[in-house]
């Protein structure tokens, strides 16, 4: 039996022509604004955000939940937008990276800037979202809590030193998201 959650074993595209099912009315809020969208129930939250709502701060990368670039908050908790289907967001409050910085930079964003917690920046929105989700639940996390909270966010260029400094700075500044 193949190992079904390995990036390396990703094969061909699944599913041939499948007749479209009826649309689903997705009522939710995105960055505080109420929305009602008619979408296929299985449409990914990632596509709804990037393509339908043009909120492209949520990044598309591995598309199988492994890299964390598409992280958003659903009811305050980090989830991978590539794994989440439209019907799973009914009634939810969704926060994207755009929603964090609406009133100027969010303190976690500022900490990433000041501590050089990024290089190419592609993983940064997802990292920031995961840190905001962590500090919301635990404003004074231990190192192992931080490592666990960021274990699903992969950075392939700057390394994790600057990211850890940024998280620690955000903790010191007493962020209360």
């Amino acid at each position: 039996m193949p190992d079904n959650f390995r990036l390396e074993e990703m094969g061909e595209m699944a599913g041939a022509d499948i007749p479209a099912g009826p649309l689903y009315t997705l009522n939710c809020t995105v960055n505080g604004r109420a929305l009602s969208l008619e979408v296929p129930p299985g449409r990914r939250l990632l596509s709804i955000l990037r393509e339908d709502l043009e909120l492209t701060g949520t990044k598309r990368s591995c598309e199988i939940g492994r890299c964390g670039a598409c992280m958003v908050l659903v009811d305050g908790r980090p989830v991978n937008a590539c794994l989440t289907m439209a019907y799973q967001c009914g009634g939810a409050e969704i926060t994207t990276i755009e929603g964090l910085g609406e009133a100027g930079l969010h303190p976690v964003q500022r900490a990433f800037l000041e501590e050089g917690g990024f290089q190419c920046g592609y993983c940064t929105p997802g990292m920031v979202i995961s840190v905001v989700g962590l500090l919301r639940e635990n404003p004074s996390p231990a190192q192992e809590d931080i490592e666990e909270a960021l274990s699903g966010n992969i950075c392939r260029c700057t390394g994790y030193g600057g990211i850890m400094r940024a998280v620690n700075k955000a903790i010191e500044s007493g962020v209360s998201p």
Partner: protein, 300 residues
């Protein structure tokens, strides 16, 4: 990678039953055109990988009442199938009734995946990493067959699952773990996972151990050993358990236990690790945990 994206390729219809009976009837009527979906995290990866066909109907189980509850009575801790792995990882009740299972939940995927992924989905896959831990806690599953909720040991359910004997519409409704009756000694409970990187990795090998340690007699009793990993069958390691049960723990006994695990654990070759590597890893993990008991607990 050609990612499976959205419509027109991916447009199944959605059904949201409110009871086990309704879900079972839907699945029975649609057969292989429909799948049960809990968190959908495993299914999405299977669809993307092309290892499972995209169904025409998604049967969303999340509206079924009672499957999100964690309850405790005098004898059992019962956890509904829809309880997320995040909730399992944080549950004080699970940490006390099933510490190896709580540790397994901590080591599955990453927090964001665990916020969606459910205990029931992990079990129903037949190879989720929580299963070896459930085996050593003598856990039982409540399964719904269209008429009745029946309770059966995880081991018996795995036997049915891996021999293809489970009807496609059967549902996993929940898990129950016996509350420890206490033995006078201290209870050992361990879950270990080895993958290709340290964190957030698919498992190559998992092991779980529970036993009562009698420090005075230097013996283990009520010994349960299990191993699994990847998409292999989670299994009890009966021969190694029998060697340990009631015998005085010594270095030479550990040598024999290593050999029994290596010999008894049936796994499979994958592109990254051969079966022999997995057998050795399972043996080393189990024996190193027992060695720690011998060296550390015996001194304290």
């Amino acid at each position: 990678m050609g990612a499976l994206q959205d419509e027109p390729l991916f447009s199944p219809a959605l059904r949201q039953p409110r009871s086990l009976r309704e879900a079972w009837e839907l699945k029975s009527a649609c057969a292989e055109q429909a799948v049960y979906v809990s968190g959908g995290t495993l299914l999405r990866t299977q669809w993307e990988a092309g290892t499972a066909a995209v169904p025409q109907v998604l049967i969303d189980l999340r509206n079924i009442a009672g499957m999100e509850d964690v309850t405790r009575d005098d004898d059992y801790l019962t956890i509904g199938s829809l309880v997320t792995l995040t909730a399992c990882r944080r549950s004080g009740a699970l940490a006390s009734a099933g510490p190896a299972a709580a540790e397994a939940a901590r080591q599955i995927a990453a927090p964001a995946v665990r916020n969606l992924a459910t205990l029931g989905g992990n079990i129903a896959s037949g190879y989720g990493d929580i299963l070896p831990a459930l085996l050593v806690h003598d856990a039982e599953l409540a399964v719904y067959d269209g008429n009745l909720l029946r309770v059966q040991p995880v081991e018996a359910w795995l036997e049915r699952r891996w021999s293809g004997a489970i009807p496609p519409a059967e549902l996993v409704a929940g898990v129950r773990l016996p509350l420890d009756q206490g033995s006078g000694g201290s209870r050992l409970a361990v879950f270990r996972k080895v993958g290709r990187r340290e964190a957030f990795t698919a498992s190559l090998v998992t092991i779980a151990v529970t036993a009562d340690w009698d420090a005075a007699a230097r013996t283990l009793r009520r010994v349960r050993l299990a191993a699994g990993g990847g998409s292999g069958r989670p299994q009890r390691l009966a021969a190694a358990e029998a060697l340990l049960e009631g015998a005085e723990l010594s270095r030479s006994l550990l040598g024999a236990v290593y050999e029994a695990v290596e010999h008894g654990f049936a796994s499979y070759d994958d592109p990254f690790a051969g079966e022999q590597y997995k057998k050795k890893t399972a043996g080393n993990l189990i024996v190193s945990e027992l060695w720690q008991t011998l060296e550390l607990k015996a001194r304290s």
